[in-house]
Amino acid sequence: MSMEEPLVMARGLTKKFGDFEAVSGIDVQVERGDVFGFLGPNGAGKSSTMRMIGCVSPVSAGRLRVLGLNPRDEGPAIRARLGVVPQEDNLDNDLSVGDNLTIYGRYFGLPRAVIKERAAELLEFMQLAERRDARVEALSGGMKRRLTIARALINQPDLLLLDEPTTGLDPQARHLLWERLYQLKLRGVTLVLTTHYMDEAEQLCDRLVIMDRGHIVAEGSPRELINRHSTREVVELRFNSMEDREHSVPRLADLSGRVEPVGERVLVYTDNGDATVSAITSNGVHPAAVLVRRASLEDVFLILTGRTLDE
């Protein structure tokens, strides 16, 4: 493998299940040291893409190389150097916390002494050291996630794949996990993650692609994407009812910025939030609540697809 070769290189990558095309010819490139994200709503094709990169799902069409190798012919050799954190927990409930790491290390053919040393380190790093002898079932959701990540690191992977790493966790557990993932990033581990949380993508990713219905609709750093596709600020108007909102939308039409109705809210994209708020009020629109905020990746997704991430 040459030094320049990207860790993941996909061209026209496609996944079909019967007639349904889950991933439609995407191009992706992940460089060593990157934290790379797939952002999109459920069903966008993120997990299918991850499973192809993880060499557990055959490519339907297009080209894919992972760590410079072809997943079709060299799955085991590639997987030997990957760490995988799946969306659905699949820890071994028949084994203790410590044994989950030991046995997983053995799947990679690592010597017991090496596993023992790494397992102790990883349990410490993931703040699970006191739980070593506990049963997996006794762990909280956040602890299970951390154990799954520890398990994925037992072979010191070149590339760590995380599919929706914080879905289903409470805010505190999420923040702890983000902090740990950030530590991994600082250690130079290459991370590829999927998420439908824009704050997760903004906090962690150096680069990301926004996926929708099997296609990549935008690519760049979080900041680039926002600058390219959105205005600097967003004015959020909340109305008491859909009718109120319906009445108000025509009166917002002459504003310079783009106007996006979302449920009982209307988002107005602008480079000067305060000026826009004054203009709205002088047009005689009186929403129940007004909020001026900075644009986020959520807005980029809305502008590009006309839908929200959690739809």
Partner: protein
Amino acid sequence: MLATATARWPFTRAVEREIRVFSRLWRGTVFSTFLNPIVFLLAMGIGVGGMVDEHSGEVAGVHYLAFVVPGIMAASAMQTAAGDSLWRVLAGLKWMRFFHAMVATPLTPADVYAGKVTWTGMRIVMSSSVFLGVATVFGGVLSPLGLLAIPSAVLTAVTFAAVITAYAATQDSEAKFAVVYRLGVIPLFLFSGTFFPVSQLPDWVEPLSRLSPLYYGVELCRMFTTGDPRWGVALVDVVVLIGIAALGWRWGTRSFTRRLTT
């Protein structure tokens, strides 16, 4: 770095998992794998056997205990294999998904399958050895050749495990598993020459017993424990069992691959 991916026999690491799980949970399996066959031995061999011997003296040339010991041995091997290969397989594929975790490593679906079936064979080495020892104490083993009944029982178990594990991986729920027992395991258990010679069956039923893989396992075990080896017949038994196991293995490799890599 690549040495880890190309190491020999990766499926042995899947077996290691089973050994670790067993070392934690074996107490819960003592009754079904070790005591159950011995309870059968006492009830059938000593209880029923006493009555049979009183009336007719011998069954197929030996006292009833000696007749029924190899039957119970092979039939228990089948039962343990079936018990190991249905719910446990769906647990790994669906309910707990630990098989999915395994194929994210250098292990392949074929390795996971092979590990599962191999482990069932290893369990039978343990349980049938204990059973043979107890049966010998009660006088149910007539020849030192009886030791060959252990690999015979293991082969029987592996054959059933290979097929049933493959089948389980094609199922989405456990709904049909009870049917596998009712229409598969239990009839085979009863009509494969286990507790009485198949010649006792009506003439038109008797040939049907040859369709039962267990029939060949029982025949094999019996010729060794009764000290009556007929090597030609033994060869046929072994070929039939290995043949079925090989077909099961092919099916299992495919059904695991389909299930774990979509």
